[in-house]
């Protein structure tokens, strides 16, 4: 089993540290979700993991070999970044066809047929200039590159931004199909958390340049509960437990409780206990300003 390991990754941009000593271990054969607020450092992290941007400190290794500027390790990786061609930027001059040709050159396992099939399925015209594409089409191109790269570790930065709901569902379908067929690892960052939650085996939460949590999605959701009721009852029931995101209205109180292994919420209090969606868990953890 292959592993992509990042150790003590730090990154400084213009005097400001945007990633603080991140340790991350990614295994083959899993779909990871990467969630975090805008500016948390998701794109920077993805970029660094794939040698597209250098670290200020720390190392990234694939099966023990450093990834930086190493074609041997890069052959197993793919980072399909968001394409947003501001007028005059590098990518706007190219046609989709050329962009894919370059991709085919540097991804050793490039599957030409898959790229063609997906282009057809997405109704993309390869002769179109990237600068002329709509938001949705731009997302589709990044998805084509990511999928056809057939890379063992494929990273996608907000692949569904710009896609309408029908296309988004198509994407999740495509993702699961490709995963079940090849067992490739996918690391996908997204803001549309609830839709993708079911697909992520593990979820990685990035908050202010640090990894807040990396856990099996189901396990995480099974230990997060929303407790509500009279504030006295809630406080008593949640005593000694990890709490987040308290909300008040008059005498009523609601709070998210996170259980450690072995802990339980006592049953004899007059409280309502509800399950939380991944989105709500995320908001409770990362919603408050520091």
């Amino acid at each position: 089993m292959s592993k992509l390991i990042g150790q003590r990754i730090s990154k400084v941009y213009g005097g400001k540290e945007v990633l603080h000593g991140i340790d991350l271990e990614l295994e083959s054969g899993k779909i990871y979700g990467l969630i975090g607020r805008n500016g948390a450092g998701k794109t920077t992290l993805l970029s660094i993991l794939t040698s597209q941007n250098p670290t200020t400190g720390g190392t990234i290794t694939f099966d023990g070999e450093p990834v930086w500027e190493n074609p041997k390790a890069l052959a197993h990786l793919c980072f399909s970044r968001e394409l947003n061609p501001v007028a005059g930027s590098s990518t706007s001059a190219l046609k989709i066809k050329e962009y894919l040709r370059i991709a085919a050159t540097f991804y050793p396992k490039w599957d030409k047929k898959m790229a063609e099939d997906l282009m057809r399925e997405f109704a993309l015209d390869e002769k179109k200039h990237i600068s002329k594409l709509s938001k949705g089409m731009l997302s589709m191109v990044t998805i084509v590159v990511a999928m056809a790269s057939k890379a063992e570790f494929t990273f996608m930065d907000e692949p569904v931004a710009g896609l309408d709901v029908v296309m988004r569902e198509k994407f999740y379908q495509l993702l699961v199909e490709e995963f079940t067929e090849t067992g490739r690892t996918f690391v996908i960052s997204t803001h549309i958390i609830e839709e993708a939650a079911d697909v992520f085996e593990e979820v990685i939460i990035v908050d202010q340049g640090k990894i807040l949590m990396k856990e099996n999605t189901q396990d995480l959701l099974e230990r997060c509960w929303h407790v509500s009721g009279h504030e006295e009852e809630v406080d008593a029931a949640a005593a000694g437990l990890e709490r987040h995101h308290e909300e008040h209205m008059g005498r009523s109180k609601g709070v998210m409780v996170m259980l450690q292994p072995g802990q339980k919420i006592p049953e004899h209090y007059d409280i309502t206990i509800q399950k939380l969606s991944l989105q709500k868990v995320f908001t409770a953890l990362c919603g408050e300003e520091a």
């Binding site: 500027e69 890069l74 980072f79 970044r81 001059a93 190219l94 370059i102 991709a103 540097f106």
Partner: protein, 228 residues
């Protein structure tokens, strides 16, 4: 290695395309200038003169093509290559190989033509070949160095490029005004005046500069960031 093969496949296509441009444009230029000539020194006819002067036009066009293509590469393609999984080193090596390929073909065409076409122009051409190769390599070295500077430091690099283009453009305009056998003829006259210098030293210097430029480019782009 598989990656080398794939790189070659991509770059050979681009190189061929650039070469075609160079060859065709030079063809147009040589006929444009030669047919405009009113006198023909010696017993050489139009066809022979054109063929003999053609390599000089190739050199000029080639130099311009090398400059513009390399600039475009470092401004645009370099970042795309990196974002699509290439290493920075690999990208620089690729552009070096492609430029080297163009230079090789130009020199080869010159060598072939100057061995086939009889006459004084060809004879002096053959002698000058090492010098020409060295000069082209130097041009390539300049293009790659400037391109890398542009990629790393952006605007400042652009200013240098613009200044240099102005100088080149000015020289070109001047030579057109001066007539002679067109620009090609003037270049030939210029190079002949250098024939005294050991031609092989120029060749060596050119090669050294080319490799140095490559190393320079790789060094300054070592930690290049892909901009959003």
């Amino acid at each position: 290695m598989d990656l080398v093969k794939r790189n070659l496949r991509y770059w050979s296509r681009t190189t061929l395309y650039n070469l075609m441009q160079t060859v065709l444009v030079s063809l147009v230029l040589v006929f444009f200038f030669v047919t405009g000539k009113s006198d023909f020194s010696g017993t050489e006819g139009i066809l022979e003169t054109s063929a003999a002067l053609y390599p000089y036009y190739l050199i000029l066009t080639g130099a311009l093509v090398i400059m513009s293509v390399t600039t475009a590469f470092f401004q645009t393609y370099f970042f795309i290559f990196i974002s699509l999984n290439s290493s920075r080193r690999g990208a620089v090596l690729g552009v070096m190989a492609s430029t080297g390929g163009v230079i090789l073909v130009i020199v080869t065409i010159g060598w072939v033509l100057w061995n086939l076409v009889p006459g004084e122009i060809s004879e002096s051409g053959r002698t000058l070949l090492p010098l020409i190769t060295g000069a082209l390599l130097a041009v390539g070295a300049a293009a790659i160095s400037m391109g890398a500077v542009n990629a790393r430091w952006g605007k400042k690099g652009v200013i240098v490029t613009v200044l240099l283009s102005m100088v080149l453009g000015g020289t070109l305009g001047l030579t057109i005004a001066m007539g002679a056998d067109g620009i090609g003829g003037l270049l030939r006259k210029m190079m002949l005046s250098f024939a005294g210098i050991e031609r092989y030293i120029v060749l060596l210097a050119g090669a050294v500069l080319y490799i140095a430029a490559g190393i320079f480019a790789m060094t300054i782009t070592r930690k290049l960031e892909v901009r959003r």
